[in-house]
């Protein structure tokens, strides 16, 4: 989606407010850690993909997306996903009281201490079989196609219509646009290099480039 989350290249947000590295806590408030933990544990139930999680946060009202803190967005996103997936009803969220039972096959997947302690924590596999041979190779000139889909996508607006060079083929990986809709399919993924001056014109920093990971469907041969 070409939403407010697609921030690359925007101006006017002011300076980066960074805290000294050695003084910054992982969680600034206790509730932030709890939201993080809840989202990760519920994620282990496998009821939705990481792309669907991202999409749920992208769909927050734009003003809320910008105004709310990071873990407030995670909180809002998980609430929406819980209801959408049927794990929790809207009424239960409203009242805070259980009125429906969770199916046994989902309860069986609930992570307990042993699973959380068993390092490494929750690695996923994003590689999927390819349904075609890769269309592009390193060195090819490609253009990011100009499209503004309504659903989830991972092609940032600032590269659309611009030409770059394929640097590496990362194999066939889960395609986010479909994954956010619950369809798990692979597409070839590439790392594409764009010269700063091609993206930003005269506003570009001297001697700068941006490397972006783009799926094959986002690309066409350079004209």
């Amino acid at each position: 989606m070409s939403g407010v989350h697609d921030l690359g290249g925007m101006r006017g947000f002011g300076p980066v407010r960074h805290e000294p590295e050695t003084e910054e806590p992982v969680f600034h408030e206790k509730w932030e850690g709890r939201v993080f933990g809840i989202v990760e544990l519920i994620g282990l139930l496998g009821q939705w993909s990481i792309d669907k999680s991202r999409y749920s946060r992208e769909q927050l009202p734009p003003a809320d997306y910008l105004a709310n803190s990071y873990y407030e967005k995670w909180y809002a996103g998980i609430r929406n996903l819980l209801v959408e997936s049927g794990l929790v009803t809207a009424e239960e969220l409203q009242t805070g009281r259980t009125s429906t039972l969770v199916p046994e096959q989902i309860l069986e997947k609930v992570a307990h201490v042993e699973q959380v302690r068993a390092a490494p924590f929750k690695p996923s596999n994003y590689v999927r079989p390819a349904s075609s041979t890769p269309r592009f190779s390193p060195g090819d000139r490609v253009r990011a196609i100009n499209r503004y889909p309504d659903g989830h996508t991972r092609v940032p607006a600032y590269v659309r219509g611009h030409t770059g060079t394929v640097r590496e083929h990362y194999g066939s990986q889960v395609y986010p646009d479909l994954s956010a809709q619950g369809v798990d399919e692979g597409r070839h993924l590439y790392n594409v290099r764009f010269e700063g001056r091609d993206l930003w014109g005269k506003s570009a920093n001297v001697n700068s480039a941006v490397h972006v990971d783009l799926w094959e469907t986002y690309l066409e041969p350079a004209p």
């Binding site: 805290e19 590295e21 709310n68 307990h112 201490v113 959380v116 929750k122 993206l199 490397h211």
Partner: protein, 211 residues
């Protein structure tokens, strides 16, 4: 979400009810059996205390001290990092990008907050913030200047926008004057910010080289 309050903009001063609302959600999920409260505590502790930038520092210091490992890390980062045990969620597909005399690398996620958790832990607030995500691609030199980092114009600044499930770690340049240092000593010069790319590794002159 229609009943939600409009939230205060200041992230350090959350609306007074968010804590209660999170607590209510947690209680509900525990009651429904969807969250094991003990597992929740364990998970929070894990990311607060164990999975953090010390892992990445160890990898960088090892690469500085051992040339064969450095080459392995650049050519097959997943295997090299796995050999040190730092694998897991959000670090499944690593690429290590090396700073040299000609190139300085900087990592961002303009679309959300992608970050190599097993090596750096959870990202700092500024990394996830709109100002960093907006500026890092269009004005990386300006962003680095805000961290006190000036990269010479003859050096290319290469920004990596983490738009897929690939995760990027910057291998900073080993500072001069560190010949013969142990890996433990070298680790002290590696900062989290240097592994994101907004800073260089610390210079030994700025470091009190105590045991």
């Amino acid at each position: 979400m229609a009943n939600d309050h409009r939230h205060d903009q200041d992230r350090t001063d959350p609306p007074p009810d968010i804590e209660l609302r999170v607590k209510a959600l947690e209680s509900l999920l525990v009651e429904k059996g969807l969250v094991d409260p003990e597992a929740l505590e364990t998970l929070i502790d894990l990311y607060r205390d164990k999975i953090g930038p010390a892992n990445g520092k160890r990898v960088v210091a090892h690469a500085w001290a051992d040339e064969a490992f450095r080459r392995w890390l650049l050519e097959d980062p997943n295997a090299a990092i796995a050999s040190m045990g730092h694998t897991g969620a959000q670090g499944e597909q690593m690429r290590v990008v090396e700073n040299t005399d000609d190139v300085h690398n900087l990592v961002v996620c303009t679309l959300c907050s992608c970050y190599p958790w097993p090596l750096l832990g959870l990202p700092p607030v500024w990394y996830k913030s709109a100002p960093y995500r907006a500026q890092a691609v269009v004005d990386p030199r300006g962003v680095m200047r805000q961290f006190g980092t000036e990269v010479a114009e003859r050096k290319e600044v290469r920004v990596w926008d983490s738009t897929s499930e690939m995760r990027y770690l910057v291998l900073p340049q080993r500072p001069d004057g560190t010949e013969g240092w142990s890996e433990e000593e070298l680790m002290e010069l590696v900062t989290r910010n240097a592994m994101i790319g907004v800073e260089e590794a610390r210079h030994p002159a700025a470091e009190d080289r105590g045991a």
